[in-house]
């Protein structure tokens, strides 16, 4: 235990590196988890993720550890959902449990509701791909690390998810429905 706390070579010791990574990314991990669960679960996930990071500090990428950490958070959340037998759709949860933090969007338009509903109709994989890019602000290459795919494979999945999302959004606004002002439709690939 003790040798792990200090560096013998004069390089940054594991403890310092761990603390540095924590201070840089714990907020992002917490936010990621809070967007997909409740606040208490999010805090527990942060603890679990960084305990894994401590145990596997050697595996943690030096240059960009966030996708790796989010990948652990993703699996941790999945395990928790399985354990609790609460397989709920992300967006349904978001709708049901609005985070009472005052940080939510200030105004919610009809289009926002349509987007939320369209996300809800997507499959889990498609939705996840879109949310990693849109909500977490990851590049496709970073998001591919989170879900454990090759970058090219993830890019394909992301393109397909975009296409399906646009389709789901358009389907909501059939001619007999009240049509909100939608932006131009993304061309399918």
């Amino acid at each position: 235990m003790f040798a792990a706390l200090l560096d013998i070579d004069g390089v940054m010791d594991p403890r310092s590196r761990f603390e540095q990574v924590y201070r840089a990314h714990a907020g992002a991990v917490r936010t990621y988890a809070a967007r997909r669960s409740d606040a208490q679960t999010a805090d527990e996930v942060v603890g679990d993720v960084f305990l894994v990071a401590w145990r596997r500090l050697g595996d943690l990428p030096e240059d960009d550890p966030l996708p790796w950490l989010l990948g652990v958070a993703r699996r941790t959340l999945a395990n928790r959902r399985r354990g609790a037998a609460r397989q709920q759709a992300v967006v349904a949860r978001v709708n049901a449990e609005r985070i009472d933090s005052g940080w939510g969007p200030p105004e919610r338009t009809e289009l926002d509701d349509a987007v939320t509903a369209a996300l809800g109709r997507l499959g889990e994989r498609d939705r996840e791909a879109l949310l990693l890019v849109a909500w977490e602000g990851l590049t496709p290459a970073q998001a591919s690390v989170v879900v454990g795919l090759r970058p090219n494979t993830f890019s394909t999945r992301l393109s397909r998810a975009r296409r399906r999302f646009r389709q789901a959004l358009d389907d909501q606004h059939s001619p007999d429905a009240q049509r909100p002002s939608l932006p131009t439709t993304e061309p399918s690939r």
Partner: protein, 312 residues
Amino acid sequence: MTGETIELIRRVNPLPIELPAPPIEPLLQRLDDVPAASRTPAARPRRRALGLDVVGVLVAGAIAAATAVVAIVALGHEPRRQAVAPSRVLPAAQTQGLTAILGVLRRPQTAADRNPSLIAQLQREQRSKYNLAFEGRPVLSMMRLATVAPWGAPVFLVPFLAPTKQAKARLPRKLRSVTVPTQANVWTFSINGGSGGQGIPADIEGGRDITNMAWVHGATRGPAANRWVMVVPDGVAKVALWETTGSASAHPRHPIKPGSEPIIVAVHHNIAAFIAHGFDGPGQEIWYGPDGTVVKRITNADPCAPPLTSCA
């Protein structure tokens, strides 16, 4: 178009800003019980070489098994049973008795608490099997800078976990009967000024966790001999110490030097540090609370010996 889709989804983000990180301190305490991996990245599985790996493992295993059988037959020994890992108790649980009475250990750790030279010193000492067996392991996540002593040196408190049976088993046989702490205790360290302690909660509450900074160095003279550090529990703001006669058994009714004046010391973060020339340790103590009221009277020989006449 791609950007538009992402922007649409971004608008429905229920948490559009990043939450602050939770406090790291509770996690750091948990880490002390979890070994960190080496900094070397773990080797990736080499799928193409898997077949060779499996063959290598099987061959090595067969050789090891054959060697063991030959050794058992030839030497008549039974194979040694695999050691059972001891049940691990989290440091936070082990040190609960200390944190319950020492507020300085309950506050969050800061960068100032983690003094590099003290950590380096503790690391050096932990390489010794004797230190591990006699002193146990320091809990670095709980080390605290408590105060600055009158001689100008910072004073740190460092909890130690009790030595494990495994650490003691590594000692030479003749040393294994030496008494070592059986519960978490706290050490005081004064940088370049000595250290001492091994104070368990009962010592601290009994007014016995007081250290002369010369003891550790084996010195009896010099500046360190006049430097004292005492650990007291929460609620004590000031202590009054009367010098002992030096032998409570020889002077059972008079544990303090006749005519000795009390040394009055203010307490900062559970530490009373003071310089006293020729002081030989306290024979009696009175502890005062923040409002000046007496919170405890302690005598190591006779509870009714002077100057504590009020207890008669």
